[in-house]
């Protein structure tokens, strides 16, 4: 009969080995594959892709980023030289940092790509993350989106003029380092409007708070607000962040008309895709090429429109350019965010 202490030691050994085993089994995805990316004799002679590609989504399933990534993952294989699967892997946590971190550390062989939330991820980096967006291998942009600001019908403010005149505007956000929250913070700062920001669990909760009348104002990408503005009149749109009157929102003044056109540079949201730094050029070219074809696929466009977001894609060069300019532009807002956080 083993003694009690003997059993305890045995137990500890089993626990440890099981823990280590389960850790090892999961990590083996990207290892053990042949080095297909090293051949440099021009596109066409490199054997890529030879297996499935992992598409990391650094948020939980079910939101806009997850939805568009999954849509894209459905059409991307069609345009790859070999029709492997593009498999979405949700890696939520640390406000995007965990997923981006995993991408950053993955082998740059083209078998790991990731979706990015710009400018929110730019701010993450400036506030001290251990990756550098400027070094990622940019593949392209799925779409950008147009921000709309809306007031609750129960609010005492009815237009932007009202808000500027005085009183404190209560704004519903998720957090000030989220893209939408940051946009609202910057906009109100520029316009000199006093605001109090109430944090919420997610954008749905913030929007619901405005519908209920608990907050005065929310500012979100149009697809998130559409059902409350266009399909029903539960929120009143007061500004659209675009250079001219947008789509169905013919009565809504643009930010340019309100005199703050410069905010167009900072209040935006782009859905970019990239792989880890250092992917060989020929593999990257295959990815970029197939990506552009996929985002221009008529069925993909149709599905995105049905999801409420007609795609407005861009190339890898444009994506890299966006990153560069965003990093510069947001440097000066770093202090603003840190101040609000206290």
């Amino acid at each position: 009969m083993i003694t009690k202490s003997g059993r305890l030691i045995l137990l500890a050994c089993i626990m440890l080995s099981l823990a280590l085993l389960s850790g090892c089994s999961g990590a083996g995805d990207n290892q053990g594959a042949e080095d297909t990316g090293k051949k440099t004799a021009g596109a066409g002679s490199v054997d890529f892709p030879a297996r499935d590609i992992t598409f990391i989504v650094p948020v939980s399933p079910g939101g806009g980023f997850d939805t568009y990534a999954r849509l894209l993952a459905g059409y991307w294989p069609k345009y790859l030289p070999k029709q492997v699967h593009v498999i979405v892997k949700n890696v939520p946590g640390g406000e995007w940092n965990v997923g981006i971190g995993e991408t950053n550390r993955a082998k740059p062989d083209g078998y790991t790509v990731c979706i990015f939330n710009i400018p929110a991820n730019v701010l993450n980096q400036l506030l001290g993350a251990d990756y550098d967006l400027a070094k990622m291998t940019w593949i392209g942009r799925i779409t950008d989106t147009v921000y709309v600001g809306a007031l609750s019908p129960k609010s005492k403010f009815k237009t932007f003029e009202d808000m500027k005149k005085g009183g404190e505007v209560i704004v519903g956000t998720v957090g000030l380092s989220s893209g939408a929250g940051l946009g609202a913070l910057i906009a109100f700062q520029e316009m000199g409007i006093k605001a109090k920001f109430i944090p919420h669990e997610g954008s749905s909760e913030a929007i619901m708070a405005a519908v209920r009348g608990d907050v005065d104002y929310v500012q979100y990408p149009y697809p998130s607000l559409r059902e409350f503005i266009t399909d029903s009149k539960q929120l009143n749109p007061v500004v659209v962040y675009y250079s001219e009157r947008y789509g169905e929102l013919t009565d809504v003044p643009t930010i340019k008309e309100l005199g703050y056109g410069q905010l167009l540079d900072t209040v935006n949201l782009e859905y970019l895709v990239a792989g880890p730094p250092g992917i060989p050029d020929d593999v990257a070219e295959i990815l970029r090429d197939s990506f552009q074809k996929a985002v221009n696929d008529p069925e993909f466009i149709d599905k995105m429109e049905k999801a409420g977001q007609p795609p407005h894609p861009a190339t890898a060069e444009e994506a890299a350019q966006t990153i560069q300019s965003s990093l510069k532009a947001y440097e000066k807002y770093k202090e603003l965010v840190l101040e609000q956080r206290k």
Partner: protein, 495 residues
């Protein structure tokens, strides 16, 4: 009315029921395996539905969603590991029943509570749909706060007899749930510089540790035999288990309604409803209560609320496109991918599909229950296994489950630490339930408090009818037992 019939036709059109059945199998499996749950199953199945018609896709996805609570109860009852967080309360009495050789009784009760709870949820959903908007909008920050307070007061209810220990466990749970980044104040608490702790201690690994691993530890260290001394092939209890729901009909009904209400409130889901229902059962049972030692009502209450909550969660999902629970969040994504925009438009333009979803919710539970009952004979045999064999199996399942949640090794360590913690708590007579409740509700408590104060001031809690009502219920829940005790003592009757 026509829509109801059209919905039924769409639902029964082959191969839609087949897809639902596939969903049920998937949901039961994922529900049963600790660490995996409805969310993972739904996320996995969504791309599979791409080629399907919207009706078929919804039938499959809801088939998954409906079967998960019952699937999770199987592991809760047989191996003291909640298959999903919403089955945590089922372990409190389900597992003791299994240990007494009455696994069949517990499984039968769980099956019928789940099926009937789903039916109640579906009926209330259809009945309340026109009022859905008002109901969802009536819940704001103060109401969420009072709900969290009410949930926390369940701690007092289940700690009767050892109030100080219960409070200690509960407060410790609050402490643990403070770990991580706080979005309200921007503070980063107790992370010790570790990235992993930035998001705090996650519920699933903690539950796995507290219940499954601590159980395996106990089995291994105490060398107890598992199924009690009577090795009954416990399926005899099945029929009795099924009927027990009818014997406790009013409790079942109240818990279903409770589950539905909690489901309607966006963002609050199964992990809250099962505790609230369990607490309610403890609070309102007068006839021979023996909760924690195999009281069948402790299985009926959480399970019926779990499935009813799915019906409730559909309200904000369909009416607003706002997820009522984690599972419905994924469901929403799938709806959008199929070109269906939830919200006011959906009810107007495609009402039939809403009814397809309702039918699928009920049918999936019926199918899951039937499958479970037929398999119960073999499942219950698990409890006949000697603990020397069972403990390592539980152990391995638990650790793999903790890892399977998100593929992070840190989760495994959390599970192990909580496993040791759970074992110690049992050794020293601390109830784990208060700690779990606090862990689940602490974050909501803090955030909603700040939200209320920031937007409405302290009066916000007391000038709104629902908030005030919840507060009053909570106070009553706490005071009534005290009054009862005092009266009984004065009358010379032992409490």
């Amino acid at each position: 009315m026509l829509d109801v019939i059209q919905g039924l036709e769409s639902f029964l059109a082959w191969p839609t029921p087949l897809f639902m059945a596939l969903g049920v199998l998937l949901g039961m499996l994922f529900g049963f395996l600790p660490g995996l749950g409805g969310v993972q199953a739904l996320a996995l199945a969504t791309p599979l539905t791409f080629g399907m018609l919207p009706n078929q896709a919804m039938a499959m996805l809801i088939g998954i969603m409906g079967a998960v609570p019952f699937g999770g109860s199987i592991s809760a009852i047989l191996i003291n590991t909640p298959g999903t967080p919403q089955n945590a309360a089922t372990t409190f009495d389900g597992y003791p029943l299994a240990r007494q050789g009455k696994a069949g009784l517990a499984l039968g009760a769980s099956a019928s509570a789940s099926v009937l709870g789903a039916i109640v949820g579906a009926l209330v959903l259809v009945a309340l749909m026109p009022l859905g908007r008002q109901i969802v909008l009536a819940f704001s920050y103060p109401e969420y706060f009072m709900l969290a307070v009410m949930g926390l007061s369940v701690i007092a209810v289940v700690s009767q007899g050892s109030m100080w220990k219960g409070l200690a466990a509960g407060l410790f749970g609050l402490l643990i749930c403070m770990i991580g980044y706080d979005p309200v104040t921007g503070a980063v608490r107790y992370t010790f510089g570790l990235d992993y702790l930035y998001d705090g201690i996650k519920l699933v690994p903690a539950l796995i540790g507290l219940f499954a691993i601590s159980e395996a530890l106990e089995l291994m260290l105490k060398n107890k035999s598992f199924g009690g001394d009577e090795k009954i092939s416990s399926t005899g209890g099945l029929g009795e288990g099924i009927m027990s729901v009818f014997h406790n009909f009013w409790l079942f009904l109240r818990c279903s309604v409770l589950g539905f209400i909690v489901g309607v409130i966006p963002g609050v889901g199964g992990s809250v409803s099962n505790f609230v229902a369990y607490g309610h059962a403890v609070q309102t049972t007068t006839k021979n209560p023996h909760f924690g030692q195999g009281d069948i009502r402790g299985v009926i209450a959480p399970q019926s609320s779990d499935t009813a909550k799915d019906g409730g969660a559909m309200v904000p999902t369909i009416v607003f496109g706002i997820p009522g629970s984690v599972e419905t969040a994924v469901l929403l994504g799938a709806l959008i991918l199929h070109g269906l925009q939830p919200g006011p438009k959906l009810m107007l333009e495609e009402p039939a599909i809403v009814y397809v979803m309702v039918y699928a919710l009920v049918a999936s539970n019926i199918l899951a229950g039937l499958l479970g009952l037929f398999g119960a004979k073999y499942l219950a045999r698990l409890t006949d296994m000697p603990s020397a064999l069972l403990a390592p199996v539980i152990f391995s399942l638990a650790i793999m489950g903790a890892y399977a949640t998100e593929g992070i090794l840190g989760d495994v360590f959390v599970a192990l630490v909580f496993g040791v913690l759970g074992y110690c708590m049992r050794e020293f007579g601390f109830n784990r339930v208060p700690m779990v409740i606090a862990l689940v509700l602490g974050a909501m408590l803090q955030q909603t408090y700040h939200q209320t104060i920031m937007s409405m001031g302290a009066q916000g809690f007391f000038v709104r009818p629902i908030s005030l009502g919840l507060f009053a219920i909570t106070v009553l829940m706490l005071i009534i037992p005290v009054i009862k005790n005092r009266r009984a003592r004065e009358g010379g009757i032992p409490a």
